[in-house]
Symmetry: C2
DNA sequence: TTAAACTTTCATAAATTACTGAAACTTCAA
DNA sequence: TTGAAGTTTCAGTAATTTATGAAAGTTTAA
């Protein structure tokens, strides 16, 4: 497998960005390669296209399976395993969001809840706890909201996003039209 | 400066999470320390509290200034520089979002735009470009939308988030009430 | 000016993370 | 069962990132 310059620049860029998106360079390259590949490809193809070791590919694919970003395929009469991107771009982005939410917010939320159960021992701790409470509430809000948004599905989310600055307007309607939502803290 | 066990656990946790949030351990610890400190503190206080070198603190604070997460203060008759968290938790979270958007999406958007200007050279590139276009549109959508949301300000965003699953309902209203929004691509 | 008090820089050391490749493992056809 | 075709694991090494601390830089009071 040989990449054209166009595809190579894309794949390499995803490698560079990988670490910012929560995985390492190789994993970024692999997922990029799979996304632009029409047909499913083997681990050997990947190793060759990216000039990395076979072992590295294996670990990368394992990681991507944990993220649910790749799909395994078998071809009849062929013992090799073939891989392809799992779902649409939208699906993949959703899974990345979800996974990052888990990794970036859940552990902190859990720690904050624990700490907030403790009695403050002095003045400094009293002040600190009010701050920790604020952080907790913000994280919890974002966390819950992002889960709601994902539940909306692509179509509605699309509408919501296209709404853009119109969101403000719609919110005003809501105040006038919805008598009183039942979810006050 | 000596941290109580409660504060220490919080500060250390932020250190661990730091790398997932886009900065390194030390920077995470420093920002956590500043957030729970009622009074502004000196770089030496920080080095002592976290048991890290003075130089490291200096670099960490520099980084945090780039993120606009710390504020410098001077006390009359005192030559030292004092530092405190810059703005409310909300403000700080906003800046982190903004900065991450810039780092995680902008470079990719820019690359994708470039690539999409090229003529595909073969079949594989034709397929790849449709995928790249999808990625581009999704990223652009998220990017623009998140900017809109930030423009709403805390109050409205709060309402929107509290709305939760109610968002779906409000969207239905919108379809019925807003004749036709002017922002079609 | 000088020098004391303080801060930043940066070369190098330490720590962490990622990659390789050979060995171990698995699966399947004969 | 054997061995060929394939995959995974993991110890060792390479690459990258982060931290240290001494030297250089800055600021201000006298």
């Amino acid at each position: 497998m040989q990449l054209t310059p166009m595809l190579e620049s894309f794949v390499m860029h995803f490698g560079e960005m990988g670490s910012r998106w929560g995985f390492n360079r190789t994993v970024g390259q692999i997922v990029a390669l799979l996304v632009v590949s029409k047909e499913a490809i083997t681990a050997n193809d990947i190793a060759e296209a990216l000039s990395i070791s076979r072992g590295n590919v294996s670990m990368g694919l394992k990681e991507l399976q944990a993220w649910q970003l790749v799909q395994l395929q078998h071809k009849p009469g062929d013992r090799k395993e073939y891989f392809k991107a799992n779902g649409s771009i939208w699906d993949m982005a959703n899974r990345v969001f979800e996974e990052r939410r888990k990794r970036e917010m859940d552990p902190t939320l859990s720690l904050l809840r624990d700490i907030l159960l403790d009695k403050p021992g002095n003045d400094a701790e009293v002040f600190a706890q009010t701050k920790l409470q604020e952080i907790h509430d913000l994280l919890e809000g974002i966390s819950k909201w992002s889960m709601e948004l994902q539940r909306l599905g692509p179509d509605k989310l699309g509408t919501l996003m296209k709404l853009g600055s119109g969101v403000g307007k719609v919110l005003e309607f809501k105040d006038k039209l919805l008598p009183r939502p039942a979810n006050n803290k």
